[in-house]
């Protein structure tokens, strides 16, 4: 009896300890994150008993999905999330492959490469704006070199329909982030696998494609997913570097939510939730595609 009591207590303590340790974080996530999501869902369904709205309906969602502008925004958002992710991964791999070689000044360049990790996106956006606008720094250099006379001759890169300005900023900021991870993985792998592949007759491309890439990709996958999820829901950079219409979904959602006409509130909230839903699906799809790609050729 006594022994079993003791056992029970020991079990309770060892089990309970974990929950005591986790509880502050859980309270925060449950109340603020899940609470916010739940309240948002209710709001998007027009269900707010406190102010007398007792009949939930799908009006907000109907309004979104019947609006042609929404689909334009959605396509733009997908483009703005996926394109820079792939470009950043490609650039990061390229820089990683070069930086892992040993050469003079390697340390300095590795530090320089990671320099803009903690630099804020906004500052990057302002820098890109000053560089690439039609009267920007590059346009002035183009003029000095005699390539152009008027600002209007410089290609529209900022606030443009193809979101080039946004993409440049994202690639500029996230390439080093993914690149540092690539570099860390490459260094932990070493060069033994490649040496083996080489003695087996694999050429340069084959060594990269069938030896290095499958080893690097799982790590790259995790960071690039986080990066893509960020792009999908980002507001600040598209607001500074994007065109006015159609804008990215996040910008549209904020526009609706902060609209003076309160009837637009539920539409803004619903839009934010749709962004979250599509973004989550996109993340899982991306992970699934990458896994398949790695496995089938590994």
């Amino acid at each position: 009896m006594k022994a079993s009591m003791y056992l029970w207590w020991a079990r309770f303590y060892s089990k309970g300890k974990v929950w005591i340790l986790l509880s502050p974080a859980l309270i925060l996530v449950v109340f603020l994150f899940l609470g916010g999501l739940g309240f948002g869902i209710a709001e998007s369904l027009n269900y707010m008993p406190i102010i007398g709205l007792n009949d939930p309906n799908f009006d907000a969602y109907r309004a979104i999905f019947s609006d042609k502008g929404f689909y334009k925004s959605l396509l733009l958002t997908l483009h703005v999330a996926i394109t820079p992710t792939l470009l950043s991964v490609a650039c990061a791999l390229a820089f990683g492959l070069v930086l892992r070689q040993s050469f003079r000044g390697k340390k300095v360049f590795t530090f320089l490469f990671s320099f803009n990790l903690p630099i804020p996106h906004v500052v990057g956006a302002i820098g890109i704006l000053f560089l690439f606008s039609q009267s920007g720094f590059f346009a002035r250099i183009g003029h000095a070199l005699g390539w152009m006379d008027m600002p209007a001759e410089f290609p529209i890169i900022v606030n443009d329909p193809w979101a080039i300005g946004i993409i440049i900023e994202y690639v500029w900021k996230e390439t080093p982030f993914i690149g540092v991870i690539v570099l860390a993985i490459l260094q932990s792998i070493g060069e033994d696998y490649e040496a083996v592949a080489q003695t087996l007759g694999a050429n340069r491309w084959q060594r990269f494609r069938y030896v290095l890439l499958p080893l690097v990709l799982p790590g790259v996958l995790i960071v690039s997913v986080a990066v893509m999820a960020f792009f999908f829901g980002d507001f600040v950079i598209p607001a500074i570097l994007g065109q006015t219409y159609p804008a990215v979904l996040a910008v549209e959602a904020v526009k609706d939510y902060t609209h003076y006409d309160l009837r637009n509130h539920p539409i803004g909230v619903a839009q934010a939730l749709v962004i979250a839903a599509i973004g989550t699906v996109l993340v899982f799809l991306y992970m699934w595609l990458n896994r398949k790609f790695v496995r089938s050729d590994g």
Binding site: K15, K17, I20, L21, L22, A25, L26, V29, L32, F33, L34, G36, L37, G38, F39, G40, E43, M48, I50, F95, F111, L112, F113, S114, F115, N116, L117, P118, I119, V122, V123, G124, A125, I126, G127, L129, F130, L131, S135, G136, F137, I141, P151, W172, P176, L183, A184, Q187, V225, A229, F230, G233, F235, A239, I240, A253, V269, A272, I275, T280
Partner: protein, 268 residues
Amino acid sequence: MNRIIRWFAMTMIIIWVVAPFIPLWLWSFSLRWRFPNLLPEVWSPRAWLYLLKPSSGVLDATIDSLVIAVVVTVVSVAIAIPAGRALGLYRFRGKRFMEFLILAPTIIPGLASVFGVHGLFLRYHLANSLVGVILVHLISSVTYATMVMWGVFSNYNPEFEEQGRVLGANPIRNFRYVTWPAIFPGIVVAALFSFLLSWYQYLLTLIIGGGKVQTLAMLLFNFARSGDRPVAGALSIIFMIPALIVLFVTSRYLTGENAAVSGLGGGR
């Protein structure tokens, strides 16, 4: 061939790091800088002097940003240490679900929950207040800080605490002299991470603060869109100061190619 590629890559890295900052500095010291000129026609410290004036609101915004970020950092780390310990050291039923729950805010953008949080805060009189802004900043800061501490505790050996206990240390002394030194580098990273996340936060502050709470990030965003390039340039440089401090600290604490530093890429 290899050499040429390397030279090209190194040149690209230099351009990558330097290019966006050149026009920021030049604009911040210019009074007039019309199109074809490569350098400002009239140099002036006007933008910098303007930012120093109380009427520009920069001083107040800096104080607000600092107060919010420091509180968020302290609370995040205090929450992340036990949470990271639970996830990194113990196996328990429901662990996967807890991991998923705590990591969810990294995948689902803050935009999705912030409108609902705003609705909740309006009811409990937390909207348009500093406390409300701090609470909403905590969501992402705690998530990222927990990720860092989770990694730290995955490589942590609790048997040293056992030894401390055997040698007669009480739990407080044990934490102070055994656990704390072992996890300190991780705590530094988690703290820097939380600070930057809060310092850079724009959207959540806008929605929850409702314009009543003015942080430096909000001021900078407004100037970025206003078209006053000298002021936007100068304020950008001020806004980056914590990032530069972080670079300096991390390069000393976490020497060389430490993957932990890369976590700071989350500086949004």
